[in-house]
Amino acid sequence: MARFVMEFERPLADLEEKLAALANLDIASTPQLAAEIAELEREVERLRATLYSTLSPWEKVQVSRHPDRPKTVDYVAYLFDDVVELRGDRRFADDQAMYTALATLGGRRVVVIGHNKGHTTKENVARNFGSPHPEGFRKAERAMRLADRFGLPIVTFLDTAGASPGLEDEERGQAWAIADCLATLSAVRVPVVVVGIGEGGSGGALAIGFGDRLIMLEHAYYSVISPEMCALILHKDAARAPESAAALALTAEDLLRMGIADEVVPEPLGGAHREPETVAGEVGVRIATALDALSEEDSDGLLERRYERLRAIGEYNETD
């Protein structure tokens, strides 16, 4: 199957194809070909470096949505042992767009909560493309309460375009389900470590998207509104999303600068999907380090600091 190519990658992909075709030829019989291949390889390398070291915000959004990019369940598979998946919200259904589990990270028992995107179309249809219904958020909240009761730290993975905007989602109280997550997450007496691995779309991401640490992958984004929707509102033209992406300050670097994110995990050239195991390994180290640091605080101090952290976000001038 052909590799998924993002628009801005096209020139690189063309070169890579040429290179692959050359590699199939018999090099031994034509020595000058070897030199040509080496030259082409260097060019591909150069192009890749230039392309990925200067990604625009909109290009980062595309990387964050790449179907091959490691998803929540991939991180769980790479990093966690003794996994017991928690299914269902005990009220209505088991929303496949939200993943919750008991899991162990290098000896640390935690509760994992993550948006559950798939790699294939079939997986994504079953999981509503990672956009939770109200029951998904209620399932997440159930996991938060469980973590709180039994003193298990919470690790969340953000990867959603946003909460599902369907008719039944509205009728079953989408806003209520998200708000309840926010209230509960603000008050759990256990450490909360959040990892932005892909898309961080609006309220649907925020419902499991704040806590005591926010770790962002280099090309993950986190935004108040999708660049397309923003462009639609501002210019009545979704095609102007690249402009909106820049205006919204949604990259990992922007979040670090604004004091919302604590650290950024660098990705290999080309994005996390080029070396998923390496990236997952680094993410595991960062989570473990954060958990170990947070576990030294008593729960009152933890709660107080989490509240202060939230209250410090926001910029305004005080006149008077």
């Binding site: 008719l167 109280g173 108040v224 604004m258 926001g314 910029e315």
Partner: protein, 308 residues
Amino acid sequence: MPINDWFKQREGRRYTVSTGSGTESLPDGVWRTCPECKRTLYQGEVERSLSVCPHCDHHFELIARDRIDALVDPGSFAEIDAGLVSSDPLRFSAGKPYASSLERACQTTGMDDAALTGTATIDGHPVVVGALDFRFIGASMGSVVGERIARAFERARTEQRGVVMIVASGGARMQEGMLSLMQMAQTAAAAERLSRAGLPYVSMLVNPTYGGVTASFAVLADVIFAEPGAMIGFAGPRLVEQTIRRSLPKGFQTAASLQSHGMIDEVVPRGESRSRVATVLGYLMPADRAVPAGADDTPALLPEGGEA
């Protein structure tokens, strides 16, 4: 000019209603048309009925100050946390520059942002009250609105007051990006702290309430009321329609429909809101801060530290 033309010209104008305070919103006409029943109404008549159409019960939009005045004991409101203004942290200039939107909103409303908060009493019950003004950039929540709402909950907790929020909003303010999104978590956390302190919170959702404001402090109240006909939801109706690719059922996202789906407690007409909120506060306020049941209409003497 023929009388029909004169009416047509008048119809296009928007009037705001002031029930007394301030001169910034003096009505500039004596007639207005009800968008629901299309009848032409005498402005004075509309004002006397709290801006509710006497014929079809349509609830006109109200400015924040008038909403508060309609809910609290006369003369009891004292504004808090004034003087906060947005610093346009992203220098947002895609589309219309945010700075100029802010400037215009300030000029037309006389407010410094969309939220107005203060201390007050409602039938004698000490509360912190807040209202969002839809004229101010769609009452969207940015840093200033989030800060005022959070401070309102914090003050109520410190001073042992209940909280009453009158909410209308288009959602989070995209011109402040992630700083706006995080206000959802901030206001929800502040509401949760009030809740854990055993103090009551009542919200009154008015037309329209959507997006990140619905999905945060607005629906975390102990008792949720809504005005008749108010449209309330997370995703806007057009987005929902595009998602499901068919037309929406009649009454979708209206206050009445939310009540039947179990999302709000009661649809309360504007004229009854003060007494309904007061009744709820009577049940939920901590005993030492409550006005005793059966007390007459005149506000009872307050315990120490209450409103003068």
